[in-house]
């Protein structure tokens, strides 16, 4: 078995292990045997495992994988290892749309939130696309204008939250990126991710070629414009889907593809699945830590990913320069 393949299996095993731990961890610690027993029982009255921890872990796996895949796609298509959906305005666009929706229609059913987030995410990406049309494509310009748009959008979000203190609680909760009180209804909302996986994986081949430069990619038969559109659309949908259910969780889209590249190399047929597995693993870990560190209170997963992700990002920047 080749090394990257072996490492993918190891990642999968780690993810299963982490998920199992997250099922037994919490305010009430359960023995592994009890967890297994309750998983097999499918008891609708089992509050801890079946109704609470399992859906929560499933959402963490699906959303984390979606963020990881989106990040790997964005970094591949922009050819910049510092790119990720949250510096392209996608995450913040989705966050702003959610805030506006929660403040204007406090009783909006949760099933609408992913759709709202998709519209916002697409809006952020569209702003970026508009700013970059009419000039020849440059990764640096794209990334820098993305950061500017991201900051602008999130400042509008902050303003809305500050100027609507009465509605602040719900909005703030949605926007710190938390898996608190997520249930089976929310799982259904992230399931479309499963449909996006094959689309994302089909980008592996063109992303390999884009890494060789636009001219080489073109001469090897890549339709560059179409690939860029498809990749960005895919990344927007993946990110918004996650943000719509658990709010904007930072740094997973940036960090997961990085770790994946170090583990399995730059060949996207390995890199994309690895980024998905690492994204899922990171979010499951962040969520588990978040609800055990200061139990019975919770630290939102988004806060923990930022605490780990921000130093990692700084370390990356320092390495990138030197």
């Amino acid at each position: 078995m080749s090394r990257p393949r072996l490492r993918l299996w190891v990642l999968l095993a780690l993810l299963l292990l982490a998920t199992f731990i997250s099922l037994s961890a919490g305010t009430l610690w359960l023995k592994p045997a009890t967890v297994l027993e309750r998983l097999l029982a499918h008891d609708a009255l089992d509050f801890e495992v079946w109704n609470h921890r399992l859906p929560r872990s499933l959402i963490a796996i699906l959303a984390g994988a979606a963020f990881g895949l989106a990040g790997a796609i964005v970094q591949g298509v922009i050819r910049n290892p510092l790119a990720s959906p949250e510096i392209l305005g996608v995450t913040q666009g989705a966050g702003l749309a959610l805030t506006v929706a929660i403040i204007s229609w406090p009783h909006l059913p949760i099933a609408w939130l992913p759709l709202v987030a998709c519209l916002g995410g697409a809006g952020g990406a569209l702003l970026l696309a508009l700013y970059n049309t009419g000039v020849s494509f440059s990764g640096v310009r794209f990334a820098l204008s993305g950061v500017a748009i991201a900051v602008t959008l999130s400042s509008v979000t902050e303003f809305l939250i500050l100027s609507h203190p009465l509605d602040i609680n719900t909005a703030l909760l949605a926007l710190t990126g938390s898996l608190w009180s997520r249930n089976w209804h929310h799982v259904a909302l992230v399931l479309p991710f499963l449909l996006l996986i094959p689309l994302g994986l089909c980008l592996a081949k063109p992303l390999n070629l884009i890494a060789l430069g636009d001219e080489a990619a073109h001469s090897l038969g890549t339709a560059l414009r179409r690939t860029r559109w498809l990749a960005m659309t895919c990344a927007v949908l993946l990110t918004s889907l996650g943000v719509g259910v658990i709010g904007p969780i930072g740094f997973i889209g940036l960090v997961a593809p990085h770790m994946a590249r170090r583990l399995v190399g730059g060949h996207h047929q390995w890199l994309l699945p690895a980024a998905m597995l690492i994204g899922a693993l990171l979010l499951v870990l962040a969520d588990t830590l978040g609800r055990t560190l200061i139990a019975p209170s919770e630290i939102p997963a988004g806060v923990l990913t930022a605490v780990i992700g921000a130093p990692y990002f700084l370390w990356l920047l320092a390495r990138f320069k030197g």
Binding site: C202, A216, H218, L220
Partner: protein
């Protein structure tokens, strides 16, 4: 053999016109060298043949089919192009890079069939890359990397091969190997078009020269028929003696002095 035809091409970036009214049919199954001073438009012309640049006027066709009627994949099956400046992809091995050359032929997922595999291993053999196969591209020297890129272009196995200054990073013995390789490709029936800076190398190893100046084709034909002291003065602003090179009998220029009027 594939026939590339350019008729009345105008090519430019924005408002600047780089190539004007150029018509050219490189001989099929031969090595053609594009030569000319810096900024004469030879790389621009090569990129247009690769459809990286679109001419603002004129027609380009391959075997009588207009370029516009070919998809990206179809064109890549027919025309391989090695750019002059290439990034170093992170975490990609030599074997993976060479295998990317099969992209226009393999599936959506990039899976290599048996025949893809044999093209890849033959290309690696031809450029003596087997010992480097599992090394990351980023860990190689400039010359080794250039050979890996060339192997990728060979693996693509297109009937038309375009090379933009392929000798740049190579030492002299690898340069000679590459120039011989171009001859072998032509002998296999491929049409090779390359930009070369060294006029004497071009005269010795190319079957056909296309000489450009200020975006126009000023001469084209066999080296012996094209190169003269007069042409060298007009095109390159140098005063030369043209002698017969003792090994191959092709023309060889020995520079006496520059005739450029410095301001």
């Amino acid at each position: 053999m594939s026939i590339l035809q350019a008729r009345q091409l105008d090519i430019g970036y924005g408002d600047t016109r780089i190539v004007q009214g150029l018509s050219f049919t490189p001989p099929a199954g031969k090595v053609t060298a594009l030569i000319g001073p810096n900024g004469c438009g030879k790389s621009t012309l090569l990129k247009t043949f690769a459809r990286i640049l679109k001419p603002s006027a004129g027609e380009l066709s391959l075997d009588g089919q207009a370029y516009a009627s070919l998809s990206s994949r179809q064109l890549a099956q027919q025309i391989a192009f090695l750019p002059q400046v290439l990034p170093v992809p992170e975490g990609v091995s030599v074997r993976q890079l060479v295998a990317y050359g099969r992209s226009p032929h393999n599936s959506l997922w990039g899976r290599l069939s048996g025949s893809d595999q044999s093209h890849v291993s033959r290309a690696m053999q031809r450029l003596e890359l087997e010992v480097l196969a599992d090394r990351a591209l980023a860990d190689l020297s400039g010359g080794q990397r250039q050979r890996a890129w060339l192997a990728m272009v060979l693996a693509q196995n297109a009937p038309v091969v375009l090379l933009d200054e392929p000798t740049t990073y190579l030492d002299i013995s690898h340069q000679v190997e590459l120039l011989d390789l171009m001859g072998e490709l032509a002998a296999e029936g491929k049409t090779v078009i390359t930009v070369l800076h060294d006029i004497n190398q071009a005269c010795r190893y190319a079957d056909h020269l296309a000489v450009m100046r200020s975006g126009k084709l000023v001469a084209d034909g066999a080296p012996g028929a094209v190169i003269s002291a007069e042409l060298m003065r007009q095109v390159f602003d140098v005063q030369v003696q043209v002698i017969n090179e003792p090994v191959s009998g092709t023309p060889m220029c020995i520079v006496e002095k520059s005739t450029r009027n410095h301001v």
